[in-house]
Subunit: 214 residues, 2 copies
DNA sequence: CGAATGGTTGATTGTGATCAATTCCCGTGG
DNA sequence: CCACGGGAATTGATCACAATCAACCATTCG
């Protein structure tokens, strides 16, 4: 269910996408706001809508029987998420930071929207496949490097702000927070990155990261 | 490019889907045959077509810089594969066994086919996400159990024939062949399965496997 | 029968998980 | 402004598990 924690919020990526661009698309509903760590919807909830992120960061995740959390993906402003093969959501969606999203009903989709959804689905597919490959090939350093390349993909500046906690990164990469921490330190030692603050990383050399990632 | 190794072949799953059912769909081209371990197309090749498996088994894979192979998915008769977000294939497709596939041009797709492709994409997405989750949560036993549940999903009988080699399983699960072998032995020890032959496994208890998998 | 391929089993090593302290950072209140 | 408190992050020591290296079996095919 949609827990409507109404809250005004700027968000890390707010400047990246104009509001007008985000609001004007077919089937759009009023913008909804969610506070940090609140739940947008849960695994098993009916999938009436998909969503587009306006500001902030959203994560989709699932829990295994033993209680371990697996983060499937992060969604930043401009990204859409929440469309499913079945009638219910396969993942829980949560607000990593305070965030704003536009829910959008699936029904009443026109030709062009159908086209758009299809290409979005293929993009998500490619991302999930890349994620699986990253997790399949062992190394903690490889995973970390891949993650850093991913989140800094569309950045021009060398400095990246991490909106998510270490635990989020760990659950996304299938590692522990300790290993995440150690691996970051290790990447700093080989001069691939520099740790400016806990959530502030300077990417010194993408080439080195690419090399480590494989 | 399409390496047309013409060859007549029965295939492990041939009986599962009728030929007529497979050939009659929009944009279908003549059936193509590929011999075991031959390449259907390579990563980077132009993606003019997607494919539907008639008989045999196909794998899609990618290679990391260090030469390690990652298998993305296996496709059995009835499955479609090879549609991409971009203009080129992101994976190499190879014949695990001798197999037959129907290539199908993307252009000229009607409304109903577009609908079909969309739902196929979402199914692939769900599968890739499940795969990522399996690889993310450590344990070799968990991965193996998940794999066994996957390949025996639509089987009524308890006995499963594995069409692929240990190396294929290893590359799919991000393990080594030795660990695959040991883990199978271990699953046998806890009476989840029985190893009848190298490629013949009896599933004794799905419940136990589910439990292990999590 | 013998070679070759694929699979299993054994011994050892390396890497990340786990358990356990600190330390760092940031917001709060004196 | 500084002291304090609490959650987040780092660092350290040890342990468990899968990779690696290596030898051995089984099955198929010439």
């Amino acid at each position: 269910m949609l827990t409507a924690d109404i809250q005004v919020q700027s968000g890390h990526f707010a400047a990246a996408v104009s509001r007008a661009q985000l609001v004007s698309f077919p089937g759009a509903q009023p913008v909804m706001h969610f506070s940090q760590d609140s739940t947008l919807y849960e695994e098993g909830d009916g999938a009436n809508c998909y969503y587009r992120v306006v500001s902030g960061l959203v994560r989709t995740c699932r829990f295994s029987q033993d209680g371990r959390r697996h983060i499937d993906a992060f969604y930043k402003p401009g990204d859409v998420f929440g469309f499913e093969p079945g009638a219910t959501h396969g993942f829980t969606a949560e607000a990593v930071t305070d965030c704003a999203v536009i829910p959008c009903h699936r029904r009443g989709a026109g030709e062009s929207e159908a086209q758009y959804l299809y290409s979005s689905a293929l993009e998500h597919l490619a991302r999930a496949q890349a994620h699986a490959q990253l997790l399949g090939r062992g190394g903690a350093a490889q995973r970390m490097a891949g993650f850093l390349l991913e989140i800094s993909a569309h950045k021009q500046a060398g400095v990246v702000e991490l909106p998510m906690a270490r635990q989020d990164i760990a659950d996304y990469l299938g590692l522990t927070i300790e290993t995440v921490s150690r691996t970051l330190a290790q990447l700093q030692r080989v001069h691939a990155i520099r740790l400016l603050a806990a959530r502030r990383i300077e990417i010194i050399s993408r080439a080195v990261l690419q090399n480590i990632c494989g």
